[in-house]
Symmetry: C2
């Protein structure tokens, strides 16, 4: 039987979150955390609504997943996020010791990979999953702001 | 008349916060945010109590100060923190566009300056204020953990 729980499967759920951010006038980034093919956290960017630069989708997802697990380390967890994490979020992911990060669109200016933010040695990274879909939503958002 | 509102004056208040963290069994880091010589946010590390790697003193101080100001940018604000910010906190400070960061003890392993985290071009940094006092508290904490 085919495994339906692919990276694309979960990234679609992160994209649904990004669309919720879009509808609220937020930069459309969504994130989920998965353990054993189960979604344990969902979030989307809320920096405008909360007036808080720390309210990125990933930060909320990390807090929420740790709350679910009852411990601060995200062992055996995968974060799916529609946009490449920034320095802040990558720095938080470093502390979380998360097992895997999967992101959609790259962020050439403020993404952690260009800026050289250190991840935990235990963390694997996969990029470019549903990259087009994630990037199209971002471009559509910024087009509404012109 | 002598100006009592020196960096040392405010760092002492951050140190009081660090001592509160120490008393709770948390890595003793404290932070305050100041605007026009007025303290608008106080916080200390709560990562253990909250089971949350994002609950560093600085992160809470940024959220709290933005809440006080009613806007997410920390223009004309100074953050005083007893330990050099990590990648996550420096990344959050980047987004906040804070005017000035003053820290006490350096963190040779996980501090942002060694790891090359980018701050906002508007942000000035002062280091080493009450460095000994801040470092002594950290060492005392880790001695209790041996």
């Amino acid at each position: 039987m085919e495994n339906i729980f692919t990276d694309e499967y979960f990234m679609k759920k992160a994209l649904q979150e990004a669309e919720m951010a879009f509808d609220k006038g937020e930069i459309p980034v969504g994130a989920i955390v998965v353990i054993d093919n189960k979604v344990i956290a969902r979030s989307h960017n809320l920096t405008e609504l909360l007036n808080d630069v720390t309210a990125h989708a990933e930060m909320q997802a990390i807090t929420s997943a740790a709350n679910f697990l009852g411990g601060k380390y995200l062992k055996d967890c995968t974060l799916y996020v529609t946009l490449e994490p920034c320095q802040m979020c990558a720095g938080a992911l470093y502390w979380s010791q998360i097992t895997k990060i999967v992101y959609g669109a790259s962020d050439e200016n403020r993404g952690f990979s260009k800026l050289g933010t250190q991840l935990h040695p235990k963390t694997k990274v996969v990029s470019g999953v549903l990259e087009n879909e994630c990037a199209i939503l971002m471009r559509a958002f910024f087009r509404t702001k012109r």
